[in-house]
Symmetry: C2
Subunit: 429 residues, 2 copies
């Protein structure tokens, strides 16, 4: 039986009834942010669906009106996977073409369905902590070659540890938020002895996928690797904007800081792990070395999700693709990242976010940062009409999209919407 | 005129009427956390003071009952320094021996004053983000010598940048919370090629001072150095517990992660910048090199605060002092840390926390970590009755205290209470 909705969904839509992502939105006539899902080109106001009693009786979802009237998903996220799953199935049922309850209630439909073009999206969660990983072998190798040469490209720990570092939660913003070019300390020349202050001249993107913690863990206890997937609420697209000149000068020995913390963009709809389950595949072989036992998984844990980065240069009127990559290239899985993160007893809270690190594939056309695509600024990227770029200029717009199952035989796509942002000029010289 | 309270305050107290720190507490008969201050050996329930109308009319403090009935200081912190100042002065007035309003109202006194021994302290704020700096020249030099030798002790950026990195906010805990020894990846020997998994064998402390952001800044805008002090709500003591073996293996190239995120303890009472103003002194000379203009301050910005670390080994019955240091040794001031942190446009939110990094003084007796005191485990620390330590053992207790004006002629001390924690055995082998 194919699941089908009475809401029309084009073949190419990111949001068929099989998806049912969760997000926070508001509308011009009701500015209070609330919980919604997306289907076709419509947002579905789940607070209205709940008020109509259509979510009554979902196992474990006590007080759906309250939970879906909140301005973040944190409470819903804290309920755990059985509840997320039951809720998603209930929503699919409500939206299915065979269910008359909403379909034939035109007054309710009016309140529940809003064109996606008319909604304002907000951050889906209050993000307590944000952690950025560095888990693509191709990306780590490329960066390593540029900085340390081919023979020492990967650091000694890289094949043992899903390397990560704490990021800045306050500056995570939702897709569509403008990004201000940061100023900071940078070296005026590669072998300069003293830094100068000024706007970053090497403003870059990082193509990443983010994961949200649903149910957390207590301080002092770990999340077991075999349990990790159930703790994940879902995935989003991430652009981890990076100022390479600021980063290069500051990062030794304690890691990236102001080169990253001026902004991190995420797509607004969290696509659930349940929706993505059909796209689980085996990731890269981890045999030499084998991971330590706490990182060993006994089932596929990579996701086949196509990822694309497009840029619209300031002087251009159209987006052009600069890279096509895939989440399945990632050496360390998102579940390995979560298990590692908590093995020291670090506590996760509902709404905490991780990001994979830049997802580069094996060829130049699949590199996830301008640093790699231009090989540290050596090779220009050619756009139409003679426009060229190494790093981002003011007014440039960047858009990341992602879609599972592009070539699958399932007959539908699970998409992520978009993660976009535009560069504003620096305020400080 | 000397300010004096009708509440008795011993000569040696951390909390004279000149202090008026802010914290969150609860009591056995009322488990709802609420805002309080401390005077002598009493906590003062500010929600009850407000309910009695004694804080009515404080400029800018609208709805003091609501604000002081909250379970965190975030709202109060967001009001800005003029309001914090007016509130502190009003509280001093209410507690002064010449004011009969509270003094002679025995029924109200009963509700307002609670012995400090009977209160349970909570985290003073919802900490959105926590940033750990590395701003003691002596500490950075000591660590540098151990890792890279004397000639390359300080990294090239160190004298230009208040080096910092994002920490983990979820695992910041209030003084008195037990700390679970973390497990993780570590090298079995210095030149080993592959890591093993197990409990950290080099569990350490870091003596630090934390600062809380009161009023924040918008994403994309900076906090000017000359404005920075007014954005700070106050200071606390910090023990940034560190697992040196985990940290050493993981930290290249993205910085400390699981070696830190298992727990960070803070003292419960935030001492305001206004209370500390009499203890402002000039910090170390910053002449070679001069800081970039955005880091230049035109007034004293170091604080003369004595800091002491005591340890009670598991097999012992008393605390013994292992280090005595002072915040004034710090090369980069807390205001320089805040100005640097935001110069890229990174937004601060009320309740965000920074920590100075380990505060080591010039001599061995003033080093702020066991790593330095034992010179990486080479020299044992001798306690009474033949007890010895290099790093912490299960059951060991650590207590940090801090006090401004120990030898000042002001006639009072501004103290911080204590920041303590006990090591529990690791759960995972
Ligand atoms: Ca990144
Ligand atoms: Ca530290
Ligand atoms: Mg970022
Ligand atoms: Mg810590
Ligand atoms: Ni300001």
């Amino acid at each position: 039986m194919t699941l089908e909705s009475f809401v029309s969904v084009s073949n190419n839509s990111d949001f068929p009834i099989q998806n049912i992502p969760f997000g926070i939105f508001s509308t011009s006539d009701k500015s209070t942010p609330r919980v919604g899902t997306a289907i076709g080109d419509k947002a579905v106001d789940l607070s209205e669906v709940a008020k109509a009693g259509l979510l009554d009786g979902v196992q474990g979802l006590n007080d759906p009106v309250k939970i879906f009237s909140e301005s973040s998903l944190n409470t819903f996220m804290s309920l755990g996977r059985p509840v997320w799953r039951a809720t998603r199935l209930a929503i699919q049922d409500i939206l299915s073409k065979d269910n008359a309850k909403l379909r034939d209630n035109s007054e309710l439909l009016q309140k529940v369905l809003v064109p996606l073009t008319e909604v304002k999206m907000h951050l889906p969660a209050r993000i307590g902590d944000y952690t950025d990983f560095y888990c693509s072998r191709e990306h780590a190798t490329n960066v390593g070659i540029m900085f340390r040469g081919k023979d020492n490209a990967l650091q000694p720990n890289w094949l043992h540890i899903p390397v990560g570092y704490h990021g800045r939660a306050s500056s995570v913003v939702v897709s569509g938020t403008d990004i201000r070019r940061p100023a900071g300390q940078k070296l005026p020349a590669k072998d300069a002895k003293a830094p100068v202050f000024g706007p970053s001249g090497r403003l870059d993107i990082e193509l990443e996928v983010g994961w949200f913690v649903g149910k957390g863990n207590n301080l002092g206890e770990k999340i077991d690797i075999n349990d990790a997937q159930d703790h994940l609420f879902g995935l989003v697209l991430v652009n981890d904007w990076s100022a390479r000149d600021i980063q290069a000068w500051e990062y030794v020995p304690l890691g990236p800081f102001l080169g990253k913390s001026f902004g991190t963009s995420i797509s607004p709809w969290i696509v659930t792990m349940d929706a993505l389950e059909p796209f689980l595949v085996s990731g890269p072989v981890q045999a030499s070395p084998e991971p330590l036992p706490y990182l060993q998984e006994n089932k596929p844990s990579a996701y086949d999700i196509n990822l694309e980065v497009q840029i619209k240069p300031a002087e251009s009127s159209k987006f052009e693709t600069v890279t096509v990559s895939n989440l399945k290239h990632m050496y360390w899985s998102v579940t390995q990242q979560l298990a590692h993160h908590t093995v020291n007893g670090c506590n996760m809270r509902s709404g905490d976010m991780g990001a994979t690190g830049t997802i580069s594939g094996p060829e130049k056309g699949s590199y996830g940062s301008l640093l790699e695509i231009t090989w540290s600024g050596r090779d220009k990227i050619a756009f139409e009409n003679g426009v060229e770029r190494t790093f981002l200029q003011d007014g440039d717009e960047v858009k990341i999209t992602g879609r599972a199952g592009k070539d699958s035989s399932l007959g539908y796509n699970i998409g992520f919407g978009e993660c976009s942002g535009k560069i504003l000029p620096c305020l400080y010289q």
